[in-house]
């Protein structure tokens, strides 16, 4: 009388990584915070890119000579990444910490008691979603930005050397920021703590490094996560930085280490 139809033995599926990925996709798309935060990232990327492009072109005549010499029209149109990384990082943290805050993690881990598939699925699903959206936003920001600067004959095009790398690089950088968020969300299990850690690593470390004696700074700066990761966005390599893809490889390595640490913690700790 109580339990409706029963599930026959043949229809009782096992937990697989693919199914956990499907489950995490349902979870991600069924929260309003996902929509709002990703929308904020896309708007920041495109809107700020347009503003920076427009005002740079507008003030061009008044810019000091050395700024003109270092002018990188691609980077100017992608400047929105700085704000977008906040949204992408926060949502990465929330993907995990939101489950701890509400207790949902217990339901998730009792459904998948081996646990690690949940973390990998979260990273993969969120990584792919973040990558698609931020790459598209980066391309749009670039095109709109160049259009805004073209009136002053300052724009560049996708066929110029390094431009495709920079445009795709913005999406890649933001995706890895999102993955760092997932990793720190799982390590720290608390939204505020996770967010503080991600942005401590990305925004505060470089500031602290600048306080070091300059010889130390020159040695350390190339390997700072943000410096290493953002090299992809610069058409011309900055002083005291690694080559773009080398730097990005380091950035990915940091994210992988953080995710591996998160995996170990998830496996070991009580839920």
């Amino acid at each position: 009388m109580t339990t409706a139809s029963l599930i026959p033995a043949a229809a009782r599926g096992e937990v697989t990584q693919a199914r956990v990925i499907h489950s995490e996709w349902i979870k991600l798309r069924s929260l309003r915070s996902t929509l709002f935060t990703l929308l904020a990232a896309v708007l920041a990327m495109i809107g700020l890119g347009l503003l920076f492009s427009y005002f740079t072109a507008d003030r061009w005549a008044h810019l000091p000579a050395d700024e003109k010499a270092h002018f990188d029209p691609t980077l100017v149109s992608l400047r929105g990444f700085y704000l977008a990384q906040l949204a992408v990082g926060v949502l990465g943290v929330l993907v995990v910490s939101g489950e701890y805050a509400t207790g949902m993690i217990r339901a998730s881990l009792s459904a998948v008691p081996r646990r690690l598939p949940v973390l990998w699925a979260k990273a993969l699903v969120y990584g792919v979603v973040a990558w698609v959206l931020t790459t598209a936003a980066s391309l749009v920001a670039f095109l709109i930005g160049q259009a805004a600067m073209s009136g002053h004959h300052l724009g560049t095009s996708l066929s110029a050397p390094g431009v495709v790398r920079a445009v795709l690089g913005a999406g890649l950088y933001l995706t890895v920021v999102g993955l760092l968020g997932v990793a720190f969300g799982a390590l720290i299990r608390n939204t505020a703590g996770g967010i503080a850690t991600v942005f401590g690593v990305l925004l505060v470390l470089p500031v602290l490094a600048e306080a070091l004696p300059s010889s130390w700074f020159q040695n350390i700066n190339p390997y700072l996560p943000s410096t290493a990761g953002q090299g992809l966005l610069h058409i011309h390599q900055e002083p005291h930085t690694l080559a773009p893809w080398t730097g990005f490889a380091f950035f990915c390595l940091y994210a992988l280490i953080a995710l591996a640490g998160a995996g170990v913690a998830l496996k070991r700790r009580d839920a």
Partner: protein, 314 residues
């Protein structure tokens, strides 16, 4: 079938569960009873592999929980702290859980109807009342049509209608041959729902018994006797391990002798008895008596006991 083998859980200095062994059989509702802080929720989290035991082992349907390839089909659980993201709708919550083992959306709709949440299924869980949250928790537990169901304090905060619904649901699940373990800190509720009891206090096993046995033991050995010859009978019954109290003229409360024995003594001395009744202590009293030493935050105990005995004498 659930088995706990010497389960022990320490959180730092604090021992939440201590050397706890029991087994839970299919086909009946087993009540997991203990005062607040006794370690019920901790034990259940260990059964589900969420908290790792400091020592000992928990086995569900023949394996430790984490070894099951299709856990939702083996064990359905509702934990005390709502394990539900408040930003998601009930439907999507269940759909996401179901996806982990490929349970189809049809089954999600079935359990939503089963617990009576059809009308609010697409609403965000954050706006749910306590009762609706409990129903959703039960829907999650039943999603995989599991052979074993574990519910932590399912009647907490429910209205009488909800309590009755859960009681019937649990009995129905057991009647279908499932293993049902339900925790509660209310003896009265368990007496109505469960057939078997596992009682713990301060993390230790206090009793593992059927409700019927528990009730019989709870009756204790107080016998109420009413007779016109109260004083004479009182003198005849006197013995080192027998106490006789009299709260009203002509009424004795005898501890330490069975009613058979008292009747025999009275007959031998030609004392007419107007009443001879073994007293049933209330289950709640028996439970409090049993766990008195194991209550974590104790109210002044003498008051509790006094209030209880007056209640039964009245």
């Amino acid at each position: 079938m659930i088995e706990a083998h010497s389960l022990t859980k320490r959180y730092g200095e604090r021992t939440a569960v201590s050397d706890l062994s029991f087994s839970v059989r299919p086909g009946i509702v087993t009540g997991f009873l203990g005062p607040n802080g006794a370690g019920k929720s901790t034990t259940m989290r260990m059964l589900l592999g969420l908290d790792a035991p400091t020592s000992g082992r928990a086995v569900v349907n023949g394996r430790s929980y984490a070894e099951h390839r299709a856990p939702l089909h083996e064990v359905g659980a509702m934990l005390e702290a709502r394990a539900i993201h408040t930003g998601r709708s009930a439907y999507n919550h269940l759909l996401a859980l179901a996806a982990t083992t490929g349970i189809p959306a049809r089954r999600v709709n079935e359990v939503i109807d089963l617990v009576g949440l059809r009308e609010v299924a697409k609403k965000r869980v954050g706006g749910f009342s306590l009762g609706m949250g409990q129903r959703l928790g039960i829907a999650s537990a039943l999603l995989g049509d599991p052979a074993t169901v574990i519910l932590d304090e399912p009647v907490n905060g429910l209205d009488p209608e909800g309590i009755l619904w859960i009681r019937n649901l649990l009995k129905g699940l057991a009647a279908e041959g499932r293993t049902v373990l339900v925790s509660s800190h209310l003896m009265s509720e368990m007496a109505l729902t469960a057939e078997h009891l596992i009682v713990i206090g301060r993390g230790r096993l206090i009793a593992d018994t059927s409700v019927a046995e528990f009730t019989a033991q709870a009756a204790g050995d107080v016998v109420r006797v009413r007779t016109e010859d109260a004083e004479k009978l009182r003198a005849l019954l006197a013995a080192p391990d027998v106490t006789v109290e009299s709260r009203a003229p002509g009424v004795l409360e005898v501890t330490g002798l069975s009613s058979d024995r008292i009747g025999r003594v009275a007959a031998d001395h030609a004392i007419a008895l107007a009443e001879l009744t073994p007293q049933q202590a209330s289950l709640e009293e028996a439970f409090m008596e049993l766990t008195r030493d194991a209550v974590e935050f104790q109210a002044p105990a003498p008051e509790l006991v006094a209030a209880g005995s007056e209640g039964s004498a009245a």
